[in-house]
């Protein structure tokens, strides 16, 4: 039932000892190799050699997404490129993505953590895992892929989309585990129903879902419609990718793999650490990463930590499933979207002061993004064709910048609500 029992069940004392030792190594590594962190350590008056307790970490400043963007592309890498064997990237808040790197050891550790997650769901090497996460720069596909191979199960690397093919292979290859975003899983469940396939006739028994927020309600739906047990997996490329934490059979929170990460919850207003049990922003420090160590990264995900012993026997702290964020990032079909990215596209089209609204809805099980743009005189034409051309160009540009399709809807001037200070940019109608 464990993948690395020694680490997964070590006593809190032993775990903290290991964390401290690994923290010292990580701080030394970033001090020696990453100017950005060296400056932070110097300014905080910390010499990596004298870190005597885990509490010393709190003297370090919090790292934010902007810091990662400012060091584009490889500025925060702590290993020489000859040791970096892979990069991944996620969408940033503007045009440039955030790039992360992995050494061979990083890839191996990552694969171990995904293996732990698969084992936690009850998976074995007899399982066939259909990986419906996108393959590519996104960490979901390749993260699950290498983890599954490392675990010894069979991987079907089908990637996302192409639903008819997903269903055919699911039937023919007999996948027992489905790994994808929960909304896509729900969509597949509906398509299975529409195709008149009896879920009982499929071999599916486990779902490993992540990359976007979901709810207990969705879990119930997925479990009954697909006749499976559904588990949450959490991660973000800035920290690792899927496998930072995962749910065990108790389904009462996601164990953060604390031999590889230190998790803190901080007050969103003050940035001060909060005790266990209080909700706030999840902040993560990596302990074993070589190519892209990260110190006190603010995920902006809202969670609560629970250090009570778990029925599964694992000692690692559990995080409550993420319920929201403290920034304006939206996750649409597993893709991170910031309103500022949309704004930058509209600016490219010459709209000096774009007034727009992102309307996200879930029709059936798939997310729909509508972008309402106030049509000003600059864009207006008496010809329908010209306006439709503009719509198409905007849609194509959004697709190329964000990797998601959106519907552009032109609206009359001054119809998008203005509020004092920050404009309202998002209406999220999804009920998850």
């Amino acid at each position: 039932m464990y993948w690395q029992e020694e680490y997964e069940t070590m006593t809190r004392d032993k775990l903290e000892e290991l964390q401290l030792q690994r923290l010292q190594q990580t701080l030394q590594r970033v001090y020696d190799n990453v100017p950005f962190y060296r400056q932070s350590l110097d300014e905080a008056g910390i010499s990596p050699g004298d870190v005597k307790s885990l509490a010393d970490l709190q003297k370090m400043p919090i790292t934010v997404k902007k810091d990662l963007r400012d060091n584009y592309p490889f500025g925060l890498f702590a290993a020489p490129m000859e040791k970096v064997v892979r990069v991944h990237a996620s969408s940033g808040t503007t045009g440039k993505p955030i790039v992360v790197g992995y050494t061979k050891n990083d890839i191996n550790n990552w694969a171990d953590l995904v293996s732990r997650a698969i084992r936690m769901t009850g998976g074995t090497n007899k399982d066939i895992v259909q990986v419906g996460f996108g393959y590519g720069l996104f960490t979901g596909g390749l993260g699950l892929h290498f983890g599954t191979e490392h675990f010894g199960a069979t991987v079907v690397p089908i990637s996302g989309g192409n639903t008819a093919r997903q269903l055919m292979l699911m039937q023919d290859f007999g996948a027992t585990i489905l790994a994808c975003t929960p909304s896509y899983a729900l969509y597949l469940a509906e398509e299975i129903q529409n195709a008149g396939i009896d879920p009982q006739s499929l071999n599916l028994k486990i779902g490993i879902f992540g990359a976007e927020p979901w709810s207990e309600r969705m879990r119930d739906q997925l479990e009954s419609k697909l006749n499976i047990k559904a588990f949450d997996i959490y991660g973000l490329s800035e920290v690792l990718g899927p496998g930072v934490s995962a749910e065990c059979s108790e389904k009462k929170g996601l164990h953060i793999f604390e031999d590889h990460f230190i998790a803190e919850i901080v007050d969103p207003e003050t940035g001060k650490p909060l005790p266990y049990g209080q909700p706030g922003e999840l902040v993560i420090t990596s302990l074993t990463k070589e190519a892209f160590p990260i110190i006190r990264y603010n995920t902006r995900d809202i969670s609560v930590l629970n250090v009570e012993p778990c029925g599964c026997g694992r000692t690692h702290v559990r995080m409550q499933r993420v319920t929201g964020r403290t920034d304006d990032m939206l996750i649409i079909r597993g893709v991170n979207v910031f309103p500022s990215q949309i704004e930058s596209v509209l600016l490219e089209f010459g709209d000096a002061e774009p007034h727009y609204l992102l309307v996200v809805d879930r029709k059936g099980s798939l997310d729909n993004l509508e972008i309402w743009v106030e049509l000003n005189e600059r864009f207006f034409s008496d010809k329908v064709r010209a306006l439709e051309d503009l719509e198409n160009k905007m849609r194509a540009r959004i697709l190329s910048v964000l990797g998601i399709s959106a519907r552009i809807k032109f609206v009359e001037p001054r119809t998008i609500p203005r509020s004092e200070g920050k404009a309202k940019r998002v209406v999220d109608k999804r009920e998850i």
Partner: protein, 159 residues
């Protein structure tokens, strides 16, 4: 000098032949068209011709009015996205083949018609049709040379 004066004269003549159309962006929601007509009514602006092109999301209302400058200003102040476009108002014989003849003339010169629509009222024995074309000066030229009557802005506004 004489040549350029002649050209200026021609240009002026062509400009007199153009009619200013008001275009208004409308979202497809109830009451928007009524709102436009109310604004115009309050300003004593009379609508001579109109057409609406619509898609699932929006419509474009095109209007010929008796006072395009005031109409533009009033609609803009009422918060609408408005633009003006030059179009031509052509008298088309009120008989079978009347419109076909005009279209053929334009086609011979490869003049693309973006859209056209008819006036609410007509001149004696002729229908009035608004043409929106890309090459407006060429269109005026070819129609005039072929004795097709074009009503200039001032004639249309005071119909």
């Amino acid at each position: 000098m004489r040549t350029s004066k002649t050209i200026e004269g021609l240009v002026e003549g062509e400009n007199r032949m153009k009619v200013k159309q008001i275009s208004v962006f409308l979202e497809n929601k109830s009451g928007r068209l009524a709102q436009v007509t109310q604004v115009l009514g309050q300003q004593n602006i009379n609508i001579r011709a109109l057409s609406i092109a619509d898609t699932t999301d929006f419509g474009i209302l095109r209007l010929i009015v008796n006072d395009p400058d005031s109409a533009y200003q009033a609609l803009k102040e009422a918060g609408f996205t408005v633009s003006t476009t030059d179009v031509i108002a052509v008298e088309v014989g009120d008989e079978p083949g009347g419109l076909a003849r005009v279209l053929e003339l334009l086609q011979q010169k490869s003049i693309n018609i973006e859209y056209l629509y008819a006036f609410l009222q007509k001149a004696a024995n002729a229908a009035l049709v608004v043409f929106r074309v890309e090459q407006i000066d060429e269109a005026i030229d070819v129609l005039q040379k072929n004795n097709v009557n074009i009503l200039g802005g001032n004639q249309v506004y005071t119909l």
